[in-house]
């Protein structure tokens, strides 16, 4: 991965997110949002990676990502999601959930909607009572679901002032992340190693299903759902393990893969090429997991054939990829783990990599060493 740009931005970055491209357009990613944490003043900012067509003669891209605009954010940015092209939802450590609106004409950000005290503690009158950090958000127009350290789940609608639905005491421990499974169903992970599936159609405060790791109650920090197969879910835990789950069957993970040395902060399937998975961790590493099966096998087979085979093997293996992804390479219980090829994307270990996002061939990640890394040629 030669073309990885680093830019030091003078704030610790907790979240980075690509702005989604309009569906059906051929545009590639060009803008991302970043949120900072643990500064005296925290910001949500928008960055542009510049004109993609601006390829100079050496084949390189001129310059790195540039700041478009930023806005102050009260408290640490705990999570950040694009609601649509213009709106960004941010979760705060003060328990507040804010929707920011981007005005592309004069490049400014403004607050368009805010739910203060979406997450709060109800302790016995001690001073620390009140706000509880909101730890995760997931958006599916027009709904926004938030989870927090208070074990509460909120369902907001962007045009409603009040929460549409609140599940108090949804969890006895901290909820760390949330994702949509199917539209009325969400999946949360918590700090005692459980996945819980909640169905908003059901009344009451009980999850419809609980899945958990065995015994050790290792906290889970992140979750992502396979973009095509809604029953396949990946989670990352405190011990840096990557777990793949099939929520249709069993309460145990399908596979457990030893990955990072410290907390895995985020895991993401590639949205359009889900045989690729990306993880980042507290130990300062960013990994690319390639499970597009048996590329090495195929090529070795064809290498015996002769010189021209490389080209051929490429075209064929890409076809098999399409075929393979239908039966999900992640779920096969084949213990031959070496099918998965892992590459480390960052040149040298730094401080914690807190967040990553992928869109098309572009990847962005933010670190505690106050740098944002961007690469535009993931699969080169």
């Amino acid at each position: 991965m030669e073309d990885i740009y680093a830019k030091f931005v003078s704030q610790k970055i907790s979240k980075t997110r690509w702005r989604p491209v309009p569906p059906g357009s051929l545009q590639t990613a060009d803008t991302f949002a970043a949120g900072s944490w643990d500064n005296e003043e925290n910001y949500v900012s928008l960055w542009s990676i510049g004109d993609f067509g601006n390829l100079d003669s050496d084949g390189g891209f001129e310059g790195d990502h540039q700041l478009l605009c930023d806005i102050r954010h009260h408290g640490d940015v705990m999570d950040l999601q694009f609601f649509d092209q213009e709106r960004i939802v941010a979760a705060s450590s003060t328990g507040c959930v804010t929707v920011f609106l981007h005005h592309p004409n004069n490049q400014t950000l403004s607050v368009s909607q805010q739910w203060t005290a979406a997450h709060y503690h109800t302790g016995p009158g001690s001073p620390s009572c009140g706000s509880a950090p909101c730890t995760g958000i997931v958006c599916s127009n027009p709904e926004i679901v938030t989870v927090g350290e208070d074990g509460r789940i909120n369902l907001f609608r962007v045009d409603h002032k009040e929460a549409v639905r609140t599940i108090d005491n949804a969890d006895s421990s901290t909820l760390h992340a949330v994702t949509f499974l199917r539209t009325p169903e969400i999946l949360t992970v918590n700090s005692i190693g459980q996945l819980k599936i909640w169905d908003f159609r059901k009344q009451g405060n009980e999850p419809s299903q609980i899945l958990s790791l065995t015994g050790d109650r290792v906290p889970l920090h992140c979750v992502d759902r396979h973009p095509n197969q809604q029953h396949v879910v990946a989670t990352g835990g405190q011990d840096g393990m990557l777990s793949i789950w099939d929520v249709r069957q069993g309460t145990m993970p399908v596979s457990l893969l030893k990955a990072h040395e410290a907390e895995m902060w985020e895991v993401h399937f590639h949205p359009s090429n889900p045989d690729h998975l990306f993880t980042c961790s507290e130990d300062g590493s960013l990994w690319h997991w390639d499970a597009s099966t048996d590329v090495p096998e195929k090529s070795s087979l064809f290498n015996q054939g002769g010189r021209n085979s490389t080209f051929l093997s490429h075209s064929i293996s890409s076809q098999t990829n399409v075929h393979q992804s239908l039966i999900s390479s992640w779920l096969s219980t084949d213990p031959a783990k070496d099918r998965i090829e892992i590459t480390s994307l960052l040149p040298s270990r730094t401080l914690s990599v807190n967040s990553l996002d992928i869109l098309g061939p572009c990847l962005v990640c933010g670190t505690d060493s106050e740098a944002i890394y961007v690469t535009r040629q993931l699969f080169s």
Binding site: F8, V9, S10, Q11, K12, W37, D38, N39, E40, D76, M78, S93, H121, T122, G123, P124, S126, S128, C129, A132, P133, T135, E149, D150, G151, N169, D171, S172, S173, T174, N190, S191, I192, G193, Q194, K196, I210, S212, G215, D216, R217, Q238, A262, E263, E282, S348, R349, T350, L351, S352, D368, S369, E370, A371
Partner: protein, 747 residues
Amino acid sequence: MEELDGEPTVTLIPGVNSKKQMCFDWGPGEMLVCETSFNKKEKSETEPGCPFIYIIRKDIDVYSQILRKLFNESHGIFVGLQRIEEELTGKSRKAQLVRVSKNYRSVIRACMEEMHQVAIAAKDPASGRQFSSQVSILSAMELIWNLCEILFIEVAPAGPLLLHLLDWVRLHVCEVDSLLADVLGSENPSKHESFWKLVSISCRPGLPAFYLMVFKALWLPYKGWSKGGSRDQSGGYGTKPGKDGGDLDKDGIALSNWWFVAHLTDLLDHCKLLQSHNLYFGSNMREFLLLEYASGLFAHHSLWQLGVDYFDYCPELGRVSLELHIERIPLSTEQKALKVLRICEQRQMTEQVRSICKILAMKAVRNNRLGSALSWSIRAKDAAFATLVSDRFLKDYCERGSFSDLDLIDNLGPAMMLSDRLTFLGESLGSQPQTFGIVRSRSLAATLRVDHPVYPLIALSNWWFVAHLTDLLDHCKLLQSHNLYFGSNMREFLLLEYASGLFAHHSLWQLGVDYFDYCPELGRVSLELHIERIPLSTEQKALKVLRICEQRQMTEQVRSICKILAMKAVRNNRLGSALSWSIRAKDAAFATLVSDRFLKDYCERGSFSDLDLIDNLGPAMMLSDRLTFLGKYREFHRFYGEKRLTDAASLLLSLMTSQIAPRSFWVILLIDALPLLEEKEVVFSAEQTYELMRCLEDFASRRPLWREPGVQRLQEDVENTKLEMLRLALARNLGRAIIKEGSLEGS
């Protein structure tokens, strides 16, 4: 204190009313100041007090947005440098070090450029000036770093060295660009007439030591015209350790000593035969050669006295050179020291007199000759050292109950006024260890500044520059480790200072961790002290801090952090969270406390909260008895719910018989047994029923009897009814069980 080069500058703190009496307290990198209620003068009027506490920060640089990039980026380079160690040797190692040094410089340059742009763009002139001054500090840093890189790290042979130096000149002194073009364009750059002018300009911001080094390095090619032979001693100038002087020459410019040319030139000069080559840096050829010769003499073990006179006759640089050399003469005996002192005093070299006295005083302290140390430090007029020695006296006094060297102390006379402590000692009162600490650290800083011409920039910026440069030089094995007497070396001292500065910052603390890691002696202790003081605003931040502690096996800190989080969770009524934190902290007492809260909630509400956690305790259940009980009791409920009555019954019984259940809970357990006793099937065997009965009677007999009659009569009655019901049920069950068991045996 008195060692500081000049008067310390007075910094006014805006907003502080100087008429009021203030109090302050030092912290790492910052100071707290607030008003007291005392008034200076006894005025009856009570002015409205200022309600603020001021936090005064020492190095504002840490708070600069642009410099944060410098800190972050250099952190990566620093960690990389610590890791290249060992496996690399020789050439490749040197190449690595040069690369690292260049990386550092490019970071400085990037910052400088950005700062420059900000300075130009600044609308407000005051902030513009501030940025510009930052730019000039950064450029000075880069300048010195570059020179150090050329001379100490890259250590090129003479020819390329000259080119490097010329490059350095070109890069840093823009005003001489045209001059330079001329010089470089000529056939033999070093013989061009403007050559020395260039050098002299380049040396302007530098220090005498640098000045000499550059000069010497540039001069190397000229040495060619002196006679062949081997030069046995290299006259190390200034800060350069002798070893490297050798390195500079090792490309084989073989030299005899400078005797021949020096004397010849001198003679010719006296004959007015030599048009004196006015070197632009202010010395002429004769002087240069004499200097070289004299420094050669100084390198010799016993010829150094001869050199003194040669230096005396070099009008321009003679004195500086003498000052540099004379300090480095080993003071083996006191007699030799007195001779050196005499030389210095004749020439009013006060600085050297002081430093020699100090060395002697230090030696005396090491040899435990406090009286002699004191008199040397009085001769050096060195207040800090006198304080130190006085403290030793006081310490000895505390230990032994009597003063040594009374004759000296009694006859201190006016010298007593040299330092407060000495006055104190003279008046033989008690001692104050805290102030002593301050004095010591100040004198340390002063020592660093006096001994090392590289470090005057200490005063300029925060510790970034000195810490990183010293670290790099240390990796080049260039620093003779200055063993400071509190047990750490200079590199470590500077790194510690820098890292604790970072820890004082709201968000740069993460960087500081790695710097502490690479301080072998005091790093860990400092880290332990600092890490506990980081505010844990969110769980995520807490997790990061925890990870740092766990990676370093700092169990004490891990426990305390988990405990803080558990306590917070309890306050917020998040018992599940509290329990999982106390399990992580392996804190049995706290787990017991939380379990009790759970049981209390159960008693009040009749159902458990946080089932997801309690059902999945696993082996963590063994942490405390109460937690085991909680888990097992919940298991009993599950068995009962699943209609596994026999399992439920035996579990219930074992809870009581194994004594894990708290006494107060027995009555609840016994009542839980009621429905089991009343089942159609016989659940408890006869044996088990006996056990239950024993438990019941045990409980009934130990019931507290201190209750006042009448007050809780009603409750008493209820309890008695319960007991009666239980006895009845037990008796019935026993009957059924005996019949059943009997019939089974019979059949």
